[in-house]
Symmetry: C2
Subunit: 371 residues, 2 copies
């Protein structure tokens, strides 16, 4: 297909498409050439991919509110659904050219997830019936190469659908229709807490409290027609993120850390915490920051290295393509354990975080800081 | 004097000076035109000023160590002095064209400090004897327009000399010579804790502990010849800074906050804190961050504004030139109280911090965050 056709699929003009082309990254997946929008933000969603003459839309950025009470009526006109936001990595499963592919947030075909997908969920019947569906979901569980978070009911890896969109237009299904279709096709979904009115921030707060107590990430709210989304996270999740980021303080961005600190403060105020409850929150926050950094400094001082540690369990071939994929992105991997279990290879590896290892080492050695 | 002469005073080539000229800011003080290096960092110190055919060197950036034990032998070959780092604002007093002027860190003539200086310290005899002296010191005390920090022995405003340099070359006096000269001319100085060898990090640590317990800022170490400097701050000071910065979270830079968090972690490790002491430190840190933000959000929620509050006590004329000077820098001031005491005007004012007021207000009103 000539490029002149893509602009129609994307619903933009010829010249807008030409402007977009400079921002497209060209990649190859198993001999299939494709291009994707890894960062571009004007007009076309980040993560949009052009594959084989066809278009896969990016998943839209979900706005966040810092205050439920005022944020909910700002975002919604009417009833909205509250669903759990699960903590893993975002993928979009689509069928292009007869093959089911899993695309990452940035629009790369993830060779690992693409191979694992059929183990996690059977999407054949769904795509037979709805060929242009885009199954948007999260891959969760402790044995994944991107974000490891424990869920009591997930041993290795699992899939949870949270949205259903048209692959070409990006239009979402209405929430009730989406949930019933996924049920029909036996696709696991993120839990729903039901529908609420825009004056029911207190009820939403109760859900968040429960998730917080369970150490879960938070919620995504969505208008019934699926077009408007709004997210909100628990203190437990903000703090987990902070602890992780501060364990690798020179590799994580300061805006990442700062945003989470801000969330804590607004939550404390909205929830009208007493002085002593706020102080308790402050202590937990301080521990997330300081004890994590301290642990990493002690590790480097002891001559060891810090980094992002992951375990994956997959076919030997899936592990191979994963490592190739990660190294192709310039990551340095250190294999820590590598064993066979039945037909699977189970590998624990560490993504080296060079900035943190180097800078901690330098400061411990007495390097001065110009400031 | 033609510009061609300045390059000789600065000890750089003609073409280097031409390169510098684009970075010079042109200002006027009471009809005296001058230029200064407000940000330039290559070759010529920030804060260097060209006044009336003469040169006033900037005060060099003082490097910091995050670890005393390794930082001290990295910075010094031999004995070094430990002096208190006092918390106020840095000025350089020089006599140019017969007049004693006070220059700020960035090389601006501060009209307020210039007028207050003679109240704080008599430098006439010093400049008579040493016309090219640059008296480097800190203006401290609760009644100043830049950084208000309490010292038990300072009611309003005081001056503490911490360095003596040649105004043109920037060369420092040796430490013992500097201290004895200031004593001779009756100029108040920052306290000295004496000289130490490079293997005496433990003794330095004891000084820092004592300052920390008193809520003081920290120390500056200096080689005996005065050429090499190294600073180190107390946990109390890091936390005070954090509490202040997080009370105005959208006006203070994230790097400012991040650097202080890092300092806390390295100090905790170097001081080999037990788990429980480190946890205590983490709690104090968390309070500095969260409770300060919370307080500001509560203030904005109550319809009030947050900002940097200062009190000054000076002659009506000095107060006038101060406000003109601050407004000339684009600051918005709100006068809160304004009264006369004897011949002085005592004014409490607030420098509005617009970003923090606006963003807190917006988030409280439900504005979503795109992230």
């Amino acid at each position: 297909m000539g490029d002149t056709e893509y602009h129609r699929l994307l619903g933009i003009g010829r010249s807008a498409f030409q402007g977009l082309e400079d921002h497209l990254e060209r990649r190859d997946y198993d001999g299939l050439e494709y291009r994707h929008v890894s960062e571009y933000r004007r007009g076309v969603e980040r993560g949009t991919a052009l594959i084989d003459g066809d278009v896969v839309r990016g998943f839209p950025k979900v706005p966040r509110t810092l205050v439920l009470e005022s944020g909910i009526p700002t975002a919604f006109d009417d009833e909205f659904v509250v669903e759990e936001k699960v903590n893993g990595y975002n993928i979009r499963a689509v069928r292009v050219g007869g093959e089911i592919l899993a695309l990452s947030r940035s629009g790369m075909i993830c060779p690992f997830t693409t191979r694992m997908l059929e183990r996690l969920v059977d999407l054949e019947a769904l795509f037979e019936r709805h060929p242009s569906a885009m199954v948007c979901g999260e891959v969760i569980g402790p044995e994944n190469p991107y974000t490891a978070h424990d869920y009591p009911d997930v041993d290795s890896l699992a899939f949870r659908a949270f949205d259903w969109r048209d692959r070409r237009s990006g239009d979402p299904l209405a929430v009730r229709e989406r949930r019933s279709r996924y049920e029909r096709f036996d696709v696991p979904q993120t839990p729903s807490f039901g529908f609420y009115g825009i004056d029911e921030a207190d009820a939403v707060r109760t859900i968040v409290d429960r998730l917080d107590a369970d150490g879960r990430e938070g919620i995504v709210m969505q208008s019934s027609d699926g077009t408007m989304q709004l997210k909100y996270t628990t203190a437990a999740s903000n703090r987990d993120d902070l602890a992780y980021a501060f364990s690798l303080p020179f590799d994580y961005g300061q805006p990442f850390m700062f945003r989470r600190l801000i969330r804590e403060a607004f939550q404390s105020v909205e929830w009208a915490e007493s002085e002593s409850v706020a102080r308790e929150r402050a202590h937990d926050l301080g521990e997330a920051i300081l004890l994590s950094m301290r642990e990493s400094i002690l590790t480097v001082e002891a001559g060891e290295t810090v980094g992002e540690r992951h375990t994956v369990r997959a076919s030997p071939e899936a592990v191979d393509v994963l490592f190739e994929h990660l190294r192709g992105q310039g990551l340095h991997l250190e294999i820590e354990t590598d064993r066979r279990e039945d037909d699977d290879r189970v590998v624990t590896f560490c993504k080296q975080t060079q900035a943190t290892n180097d800078r901690i080492g330098n400061y411990l050695a007495g390097r001065v800081v110009e400031e």
